[in-house]
Symmetry: C2
Subunit: 288 residues, 2 copies
């Protein structure tokens, strides 16, 4: 196969040529329609979806609530990115980048917008004084938090897109991003060979940021790629992935804003701690 493509002098947009999600990718930003976001009764209003980046924040909030922080009570509203909810004027006001998750913090005098999953984790960790140790351990935790932010695009927008979502299987990008994803798994594996959690012996926002991507990847829940990437090679990542997967707050966090998969794992919106119980009740009734 000979590749004869030469880019033009000036790039031109060709709408609809991008595989799955092509309809929501554009070369411009900003709102496409006027619509306010709904608002509930809790101090924290979350607008999200249960993708790995969304799950980071719902896991964090469930962990905070499990520790008894009533101030972490939240309303989680479903943003259907396939329908373009992220381009409403209300959403763009909170996150001009039109990506989930986006958080509105109503607990102080003025509403505070927080966007980018890493910024939201750091905001909540500092607000409640949890999951971010002090001193040298804080520095190490932030090293890994930023490592996650800088590397996830190679896993999601890189490997996940080209292995799973692109309109055709392109060999070169699949090889490029498979190599990088395996390298990143190996970096994490070596770190977890010597540490219970990512940044040391303390469970932190580094774990909460990394697990929805790398944990789900080695558990075979992302991109159907466990065999392709030979994830069983990363035995320390696997040990840690199971450790977190057993946490009740992680299990609850994974359900929130989930609108696909098994019905009993879906909780489209979350407004109250009881919402999970009702789901469990649903599950029992369905299976009986």
């Amino acid at each position: 196969m000979t590749n004869t493509y030469q880019p033009p002098q000036i790039w031109q947009w060709q709408p609809g040529n991008g595989g799955a999600f092509a309809n929501i990718n554009r070369p411009v930003s900003g709102a496409t329609h006027e619509k306010d976001l709904p608002q509930g009764k809790h101090p924290l209003q979350l607008y999200s979806l249960a993708t790995p980046n969304g799950a980071k924040v719902t896991i964090m909030l469930e962990e905070l609530l499990a520790l008894g922080h009533a101030g972490a009570e939240y309303d989680a509203w479903l943003i259907n990115i396939g329908e373009g909810d992220q381009f409403s004027s209300g959403f763009v006001d909170i996150n001009p980048n039109s990506k989930i998750p986006a958080l509105l913090d109503l607990s102080s005098d003025h509403p505070l917008r927080v966007f980018e999953s890493g910024a939201i984790l750091l905001h909540l960790a500092e607000k409640f004084g949890e999951f971010l140790p002090s001193g040298a351990a804080r520095t190490e935790t932030l090293n890994w938090l930023f490592w996650q932010m800088g590397s996830a695009p190679s896993v999601g927008g890189g490997f996940g897109h080209f292995y799973n979502y692109a309109p055709e299987k392109f060999e070169y990008p699949i090889n490029r991003f498979s190599m990088e994803t395996k390298r990143l798994l190996d970096v994490l594996d070596k770190q977890l060979a010597n540490n219970t959690y990512v940044a040391g012996e303390t469970y932190s926002i580094a774990d909460i940021a990394i697990w929805p991507w790398m944990g789900n990847l080695v558990l075979g829940r992302l991109y159907n790629a466990a065999e392709f990437l030979q994830v069983q090679e990363y035995q320390h990542v696997m040990r840690w992935a199971h450790l977190l997967d057993e946490r009740p707050a992680v299990q609850r966090g994974r359900m929130v804003n989930r609108s696909w998969g098994e019905l009993h794992e879906q909780l489209h919106e979350r407004h109250d701690a009881d919402d999970f119980q009702h789901k469990t009740q649903d599950k029992l009734e369905t299976s009986s």
Copy 2:
């Protein structure tokens, strides 16, 4: 052109098939050779290269020194990534991810490793109490710092790689990452239409993180892509790019660990404030 590629069941590494930098990309992490890093006399030891991620930190350090923070004195050592310096045992000890920049902070009782450019900016901002405002402005600054960390891979590892470094011009990835790069430029342009600096009226680590990528891109210094991406469309980004480009600390920061381009812009290592003067002297002598 019909694409008939189908991925194998299990991905296999094909070394050397990755265009420029193929020799330094691997699916595994860790050291390839035993070698200690050099260490100078200053409290901060930086191991880096003048790529956009490297420039973030040298600009930050020069800005701190310009404000009179003697504690920000630093030795900047050149890490030649083409030669694999980032795979030495010494470098991997500081950054197990083998990417520049990496910082060793010797100012407290125990040496502190800081890796990922965003984590280094945050560490320095908090250490010296500069370029990170408090209250709501802090949240907004961190929003944009994390936005930069999450979006740069689409600009560098995405657009830059496929437009500039890949062994062939692949149409689909070039279109995908050009679209995303233009979208990100548009997000930034709208933000800078209403704000002098990225996070408001205060110059901050958000500017210092974003400028080496987006500023250099619209100034035509990255990937020779100014016409292709029609960067003149982003007039607010352009205004801000020039504003920062005029700052002496930015000009000094751009030179540090630079081993390519115009000779008078190169300062391979930086150990003293006088090093820039000597460069200027060199320049005068060369041009006279």
